[in-house]
Symmetry: C2
Subunit: 455 residues, 2 copies
Amino acid sequence: MNYDLVVLGGGPGGYKAALLAAKNKLKTAMVEKAELGGTCLNRGCVPTKLFLGSTAALSQLESQKRLRLAKGEAAFDLIRLQARKKSIISASQKSMRAALEKHGVKILTGKGRLSGLKTVRTEKEELSYKYLILATGSRSAFFSGLEPDHQNILTSTDALELTNAPGSLTIVGAGPVGLEIGQIFHRLGTRITLIEALSRIAPMEDEQVSRELSKYLKRESWDIRTGVKVVEFLVKDKQVISRLDSNETVKTDKCLLALGRLPNTEGLNLENEKIQVYGPGWIKTDLNLMASDNIYAIGDVNGRSMYAHSADYQAEYVLEHILGRTDASFDDKPAPSCIYGGMEVFRTGLNQNDLVSMGASCSVSSANLAANPIIQSYGQIQGFIKVFWCNEQVAGITGAGYGLSGLVTLAQVVTDQQWTIKDAKKYIFAHPTLDESLQEALLAPRKNMTTDGSH
Amino acid sequence: MNYDLVVLGGGPGGYKAALLAAKNKLKTAMVEKAELGGTCLNRGCVPTKLFLGSTAALSQLESQKRLRLAKGEAAFDLIRLQARKKSIISASQKSMRAALEKHGVKILTGKGRLSGLKTVRTEKEELSYKYLILATGSRSAFFSGLEPDHQNILTSTDALELTNAPGSLTIVGAGPVGLEIGQIFHRLGTRITLIEALSRIAPMEDEQVSRELSKYLKRESWDIRTGVKVVEFLVKDKQVISRLDSNETVKTDKCLLALGRLPNTEGLNLENEKIQVYGPGWIKTDLNLMASDNIYAIGDVNGRSMYAHSADYQAEYVLEHILGRTDASFDDKPAPSCIYGGMEVFRTGLNQNDLVSMGASCSVSSANLAANPIIQSYGQIQGFIKVFWCNEQVAGITGAGYGLSGLVTLAQVVTDQQWTIKDAKKYIFAHPTLDESLQEALLAPRKNMTTDGSH
């Protein structure tokens, strides 16, 4: 069959691209090897946020009990939570499928491969295309010798399928995935040990964010070990013994590998279209997100930004480009990001390291959350918001504290619009809101950043 | 003593004005008859949000139990909550006093009166001023014959001092105060009857918001009666019997009068300075918020907008005007507003009624919250966000649903900047967030508004 556009992958990027194409009268086919929705819907953002939001009551109740304001106990039924997850995912998949079919997208199940002749082959079919979008996403990474057995040594996908909270869990890797899944199981009663090879948890975040999160999780009785690597796993009597390069061992019921992501590019036969890859196989894309003639790569698989909303944003751009509505380069600005849980993290724009490398006209202002009435009401007064400035304009914002994922889009707009102090005063920030702490941080005295990153 | 500026009232408006003045080297005195912080800190926003935020865990746990995902019970100790409230208020007052004194503001306790000779008299002192700011705030309103007895028939101030949740409570008046305090006691186990003389609850909000809130509260087993008035209270055997004009009676342990606010202007001797009032005594102000020569009125007492953040915003303007930095009129745009609780309401800019009266180039777009992953995780999928458009630009936004107070500043920026569809597409809205539902509402198909208000 001949198509104007073939999309490989039905995650957030592929879905958005196919739907936009069909709405714009392109004859479009989507090839998906498993389920619509990709990592985000099936084993990423959606299940983690479902479990975190559902169990938020437990975390909040604990805060109030710690203040001796409340008494009581509550517990979750993980089997029912899994059933609810399945029904939510399945409803989303149905509505995605319905939207695609309503606009005439042909959905094929299978694994697509590039033939080199402007065609994609699945097991059963051959599709020729005018344009091709590669949106095949990513999967959990692990090191050789430290593979998951999916019974005791788990990937995030495995962990999100558990119907019993383990008594104890070792998490290897302190990025967003490890931190969020750890908090889910912590709330369900699991004792958590967190192991990070780098010197701090959440290593991609601002250093102060890492410290604040670490303090919070230690107060929650997490055993956190940084700067150490796992060198060996031993499974014995249904327990996992992790041997560290410090010669310590950690013994827990289960272990979760949360070591980042790898691109789904194996077996695509990219070489047939002279598509180049970098690192472990991320697809190289040019200023227009093109990987080769008439071939684009969007989402995780191009290795630029591993968020559903980045894939979505890239899909919008690529369709504009295919439809000839833009010849501008893709605006590869930093995407907003969050880590969810009892203490949340958000980040927009540039960070301290980016700015220090840019020189002396940068500064930082910040506000603690302790006096914010909303923060006080939830009884978790730790945390802060921090604004990075460049040439008297906002260049980036980050923060760690209760409920701060709720500030991310406001912060993104402030960052994108490069607000000045005058802008920060122009708008009425309603009282009482978390938003007021962002305004306080914007209006706080600024300190110059030094080249060693301190201030 | 001679002052550049005398401020009557130490609420949010008076505090901000005095602090700004002192920071700008004006010799400043503040006269406050009771405690710093005014209604907002002592008996308004801060205590209600503290009680709502503290008890949010109960409401969230109920949602999860209703979904059969969780089991358990929790209860709050209202005596301890009151103690926490007192300590939070007292800490705020101390830090307000410290900031004022640090910048040299003279704080006098007493009730100020205008002498007519550019002086303010308290019981003990006489202060002459170059500029005077009236920021005396407001108090609970009630009708004659239906007065509070402060034991069984309560004002909001009384209700927020209770150390025992009553078994049952009749709330007269379904504005923000009644709705928020009702939700606090509902969570603490009180059976709520809500009586509203107008045809719908939250009558200042969009009609669809009123309906959604009403559905929510009825699901929470509130007995809601609209279009009826209380004509008589009888207190008998420690119970309040409210007789309605429909000839029904309602018998509960306590009754809360939440009938709006009255200005604190009695005894100020406003006539001495030829200051005019309107309605029940609100101070008339001109385009520069001036009530008379060199006399400004800000905050609740001028009757323009009854929010702490409006008082704050007016204080900023008045100081700019006094300091000669602006001769522009005060920008009396609608202030953002919220109603907090298990289902929250936010509102920015113009509403449907405002726009319908402006004519045919207005339209409305909206999104339901049901498919938002964050909404789903908290198990309260009801609600919506609605955007009002005028000439292809955002003119106002409102919504009702779980956690929506968190969207108010983003919505305020969108409204103030009069976003177009193009603006709404320009920014990356992180996934998953409540913010995405705002973007969905912005990008949804628009329907013209008809003059009867339907669409």
